[in-house]
Amino acid sequence: MLLFRGPHWDKGLSTNELQQAMNEVMAWFEGLNERSKIKGAQPLGGQGRVISGTDGRFVVDGPFAESKEAVGGYLILQADSLDEAVEIARSMPALRYGVSVEVRPILAECPILQRHPELVRRANHRVAEQLWVAAAA
């Protein structure tokens, strides 16, 4: 998954510069699409909410739209390796204007489970138990 951070990279660009940058970005997307590298991609709206606390007690506006860290969109990439994904991220034209791209491998299983193998063992044990009960019945 590529996360595009810093959605206000167009500030300070002239209309012509912005138009050209936008064309480059669109051509980049289309190029990846033609190579069947894109499994999904969406821009995210500037408004949003951040929820925290037990039962989601705290609901605040966010993230800060002006922040360089704010995620402005994402792209789910079909890549053979992290290296290939990083090379694709490096070819993103808006990097020149201050966008940063976070490259994160998508997992099939939650990393918390990977950190706690005893949970997996216990879950497997439960499944085995159910199978045994089913077989006995």
């Binding site: 490096r90 990097l95 491998p105």
Partner: protein, 148 residues
Amino acid sequence: MSTTTQSDYLLLFRGNVWDRGLSPAQLQKVVSDWMAWFERLKAEGKCTGGHPLEEVGKVVSGKQRTVADGPFAESKEAIGGYFYLTAVDENEAIEIAKQCPGLEFGSVVEVRPVADICSVKQRAEEYSERELAGATASKRAYETVSQH
């Protein structure tokens, strides 16, 4: 924001160390609650996809296209995974986010509407239109003046 149209939202789960200090029983519960929540939302047609993200990754930035390790492995801000939601409105998306079983242990959920068009592209189009309108207006003004 509209309150009547069905829209898509992305839930971004932030914080990747909130499981520290939980007992195995607590962990077992929160993990199975989380899975059950995901399965229920999928069955209700509210969630069309979601994945955890590997904790390590890379961050590419700058004109030199520098590649750094990231995000920081132990961070309250780091995104640990996402759900893709289809909700009636933002309130429903928020209500769903409030059900996240990780919240009571410090996980944070960011709710973001999925946009039809990239905000930068939209601004670029607005600027071009304005400039075009400006050019047409000055041309008209010039023609009006030169007629007299």
